[in-house]
Symmetry: C2
Subunit: 383 residues, 2 copies
């Protein structure tokens, strides 16, 4: 029993911020800085959807609480969008607006994880999903998958080998952070059949749905609407990460559980952020995304070519194995050499058992800054 | 083990939104509506601190992620304010900016509650604290206190009677939601001595610190900085509930645990909301609070006089026992009679074992609307 001065074991087991140490170095570096360690965008949100565009004259009470599940007008727009994009029957009761996709995935974790439950996580993975499972006293179980599995059959073999009596859910993320890969639709169909056979939940992190550059994004909920929670993000989609607004679409009978967790972790999603989100679910928002998609894709191709790796299928990241370029100081020494040149990138260990990989974001600074940062990294790997 | 379609037992045990049923009725009521069931304010935030006042020209990147712990400039302002108000040594490392005081108290729950741990909650209590404890798989233990206890000795007797081997913390809230009472300083000192003797954490919900109308607010952290988490709110303080920005001040060695929970439940507090918060920690904000304090106090006196109950010490609520006015349909029937007249108030059962009480907020609508709503309630209790 944690009592003063001890904290809960769950919290002690969660890794601290991946970037804290780097952020400290970043603040004190005096040359040009290439902050490619975070997942963000240099672009400001679409005109008309910025905070300065939202007035109390147009939106009286916009600084007051919104309903826990979200503003009705935003929920309706999300319902329309979800139906149009996925073809799945969707009603208001399938939607929870949340404090970003992170907040939304947190509500999923809180709603379905009991102490000791295990959640399989396709790796490499978005770092926070492991911490979300731990925060609610579950056990995250990484399943090496992308770059390891090579067919629908081996996909199922990989998850089945990790499944135990305590397994309750499978988490996957496509297009993928950190690898930039998209999981093929036929693999996803095989995983769905397997999850259904074992009555598992599916947690589908689709925050890069609009940023797949090769092939089409697969909406997992279309394959298993009865058991799938899909998370989406205005942060990633529309350059509004600081607004903390995203949403989850899932089974109607489970959504009140998610709303309860929301109530007790962030209460409601910021009202102004929801109004801004509603404004980008529009032609103006579509135009912003189309432009960002084109620019992100070009940056991804540039970065991949310069670093000599395969082009990303989607997302805003590349994930490189730099094993051949490590000396006796290991990856820490490599990251140190990057920092000495103003380049900040993320260590592979944040994303699963990848001690010799690094993740690079190719959209987190102005394109010319990204390009110079990629040049620094290319130099360090002898290209 | 919860698997599809089951949710975690913790979530099943959490009460749904107190107001969902009422909100439904509220939307369809055709006469004048008196929404005195929620805790909010009719006042718009101070000019200069509204979203429309925050521009990307002044704040480039203001739609991007803020650091998990908060913007450094806001943290510094909170440190200054905390030192000035409490006299307690306070550094950046004692502060976490959070998604409202609710989000902040959620991070406290996530950081200190292990499955099965018990948290004592002085009742009547703010409804969400019980759900926060359950969300992290702990057990909330209500301790009837306000209106029950009448001395420092009986205060300690009440909590000691509820303490078990699983008790890890005591939660208290003064000025109190729902009762409007302030806990006397000497009772708090006695509770602190008791908590120290048993190595318990103290969770001090002080969101109405600026709205105490009789006596001075007691800053609990001044009595036990080593074990106290104090939660504050820009929502309540400055009329910005929809911004979702508050903060927790606590022991430096425990705060990284809170930051981990924040990371995995809402990630960071909305960046624009933090800029707005910084703007009200100023003369303009002080003037807004002074005005709100005066108006809230007057409304509280008016409402108490009209309803024939004691004036509130603070907060924005009155808590009435309406047992004498219930018929065979109980409190449900009473609330029904209120709704038929356009009046929405909250049932006592939301706040602990108070099946014949109701809570009224006297600031959640324009003063003339509040006054007419209070008249409706007065009529129903024969005044």
């Amino acid at each position: 029993m944690p009592r003063h001065p001890r904290v809960a074991p769950s919290v002690a087991a969660v890794k601290g911020s991946v970037y804290t140490a780097l952020a400290h170095r970043l603040a004190s570096y005096e040359g040009e800085v290439y902050p490619l360690h975070i997942g963000d965008t240099w672009m400001e949100p679409a005109t008309g959807s910025r905070m300065q565009d939202l007035t109390v004259e147009d939106h009286p009470g916009m600084h007051r609480y919104a309903p826990v599940v979200g503003l009705p007008s935003l929920i309706d727009a999300i319902v329309d969008r979800t139906r149009a994009r996925t073809g799945v029957a969707t009603e208001r009761g399938n939607v929870l607006v949340a404090a970003g996709a992170t907040g939304g995935l947190g509500t999923v974790g809180g709603a379905i994880v009991a102490p000791g439950d295990e959640v399989l996580i396709l790796a490499p993975f978005w770092p926070l999903i492991a911490g979300i499972v731990r925060t609610f006293h579950g056990t995250p179980v990484p399943v090496p998958f992308i770059g390891t599995v090579d067919s629908a059959e081996s996909a199922v073999e990989a998850v089945e080998a990790a499944r135990t009596e305590r397994t309750i859910a499978l988490y996957l993320n496509t297009p993928n952070n950190p690898t930039g890969r998209a999981i093929p639709p036929e693999w996803m169909a095989a995983l769905v059949d397997w999850a259904r056979a074992h009555d598992l939940w599916l947690i589908s992190d689709e925050v890069y749905e609009d940023y797949q550059y090769r092939g089409q994004h697969t909406y997992l909920r279309a394959l298993a609407p009865e058991r799938t929670f899909s998370a989406y993000s205005f942060s990633k989609g529309y350059g509004m990460s600081g607004n903390r607004c995203g949403y989850v679409v899932g089974p109607a009978d489970a959504m009140p559980g998610l709303a309860k967790v929301a109530t007790h972790t962030f209460y409601s999603t910021p009202t102004a952020s929801q109004i801004a989100a509603l404004r980008v679910l529009s032609d103006a928002g579509d135009a912003w995304v189309a432009n960002a998609h084109e620019r992100y894709a070009a940056l991804g191709r540039m970065a991949a070519a310069r670093l000599g790796v395969e082009e990303p299928d989607g997302s805003t990241f590349l994930f490189l194995d730099v094993a051949k370029h490590l000396d006796e100081h290991g990856l820490g020494g490599f990251l140190e050499r990057c920092v000495e040149r103003g380049l900040f990138i993320a260590p592979g260990s944040s994303f699963g058992p990848y001690p010799t990989h690094v993740r690079v974001c190719f959209t987190s600074a102005e394109p010319d800054v990204v390009e110079r940062g990629i040049d620094v990294l290319a130099g360090l790997i002898g290209r």
